[in-house]
């Protein structure tokens, strides 16, 4: 039996409850390909132990294992790890990030559209694993920043070489980080927020 009976559900710890005053939430998605440290980043800044939610997607013919004459649909379970940061007594920020299967995230209606923006985490040892998600964010018009997760054994490219290799436009911020460190992950999120703020400032005339 997979559903945990109501007696055995592991609910949140008392200190993990949001205050009754919490009225609204926003979300940021952390992407970047398998094994680049997304879950690590979520865990390093989250105020709760990271949790996992999942969704089952069906897709007719993902393009592999095409069985002749069969009209089968492929079901894929998409798991997502997430964490939480209370911003004020009213406002809560959720961070979503997960190991692997990212192309299926883009089939999850509203995940990116509803997000404030995205962080693309990259690993210089395997830069190419992030190419596809960057392209998908561009196609969707989701604002993003690029964070270079600093692995000690990773090749050190100058930032401008990385920007050229990733074919990023000049306005997209790039920042180095250590996803294991809370302050560093926090700085990445701040970089994204400042970028979003600059977009908002540029697109809206100053209010009086």
């Amino acid at each position: 039996m997979d559903f945990k009976s109501s007696d055995t559900i592991t609910g949140p710890r008392a200190e993990d409850h949001l205050p009754q005053t919490a009225t609204a939430a926003v979300k940021i998605v952390i992407v970047g390909g398998f094994g680049v440290g997304k879950t690590t980043m979520v865990g390093s800044v989250s105020e709760i132990r990271p949790l996992t939610t999942e969704e089952t997607m069906t897709q007719a013919g993902i393009g592999v294992d095409d069985n002749y004459g069969s009209d089968s649909k492929t079901a894929t379970t998409v798991a997502m790890d997430f964490g939480r940061i209370s911003i004020t007594e009213q406002l809560v920020l959720y961070l979503f990030g997960t190991p692997g299967q990212e192309r299926f995230w883009f089939l999850w209606n509203g995940l990116f559209e509803g997000a404030l923006g995205a962080v693309v985490l990259i690993d210089t040892r395997r830069l190419e694993v992030s190419f596809d998600v960057i392209g998908r964010l561009e196609e969707r018009g989701v604002p993003f920043v690029v964070a270079v997760n600093d692995f000690p054994d990773g090749p050190r490219y100058p930032m401008e070489d990385l920007r050229a290799a990733l074919d990023l436009s000049d306005e997209i911020p790039m920042v180095k980080c250590d996803a294991r460190r809370r302050a560093s992950s926090r700085d990445v999120l701040m970089t994204l927020m400042r970028f979003l703020h600059s977009i908002a400032m540029a697109s809206a005339p100053a209010r009086t």
């Binding site: 559903f3 945990k4 609910g11 919490a22 949790l51 999942e54 561009e138 999120l189 400042r194």
Partner: protein
């Protein structure tokens, strides 16, 4: 040493792939029959517009007629809780939780506090609030 090279993409007018509807009753390692029972009542019916980060608050305790899943959900949501957290704690897929919540919203046993989503012109004061909150971390 030269890194591998990517090519930039541009925003598309329409999504390349039409997003398939989330499947019901096929959660990983779940018992499909059981999930059908959990979600069966509103199969094909309208679902409430719920985001992963919509905050849910229970109005009251579960009525005696509530399903165990609904009772558990109502207990979890005595304090505000996002749909994603409900899904995680109940170990049920997001789409199954939205069906459960649609029933509870219809019965007015829970209240949904809508998330703030990115709009064409993001609210500057919202962005500033988030930045201020992050600085305190």
């Amino acid at each position: 040493m030269t890194p591998p090279q990517r090519r930039r993409r541009v925003p598309k007018e329409a999504p390349e792939e039409s997003p398939p509807a989330p499947a019901e009753g096929q959660g990983k390692g779940s018992d499909p029959e059981r999930l059908y029972v959990v979600t069966g009542q509103v199969e094909g019916g309208d679902r409430a517009e719920l985001d992963l980060v919509t905050l849910i608050v229970a109005h009251s305790d579960a009525p005696p007629t509530a399903q165990p899943e609904q009772s558990a959900l109502l207990r979890l949501c005595r304090a505000p809780m996002s749909v994603a957290e409900v899904s995680a704690y109940l170990n049920l897929p997001f789409s199954v939780v939205t069906v459960l919540l649609t029933e509870l919203l219809t019965a007015e046993l829970v209240q949904a506090r809508a998330p703030i989503v990115r709009s064409e012109l993001p609210d500057r004061s919202l962005l500033e609030a988030v930045m201020h909150g992050l600085q305190k971390l």
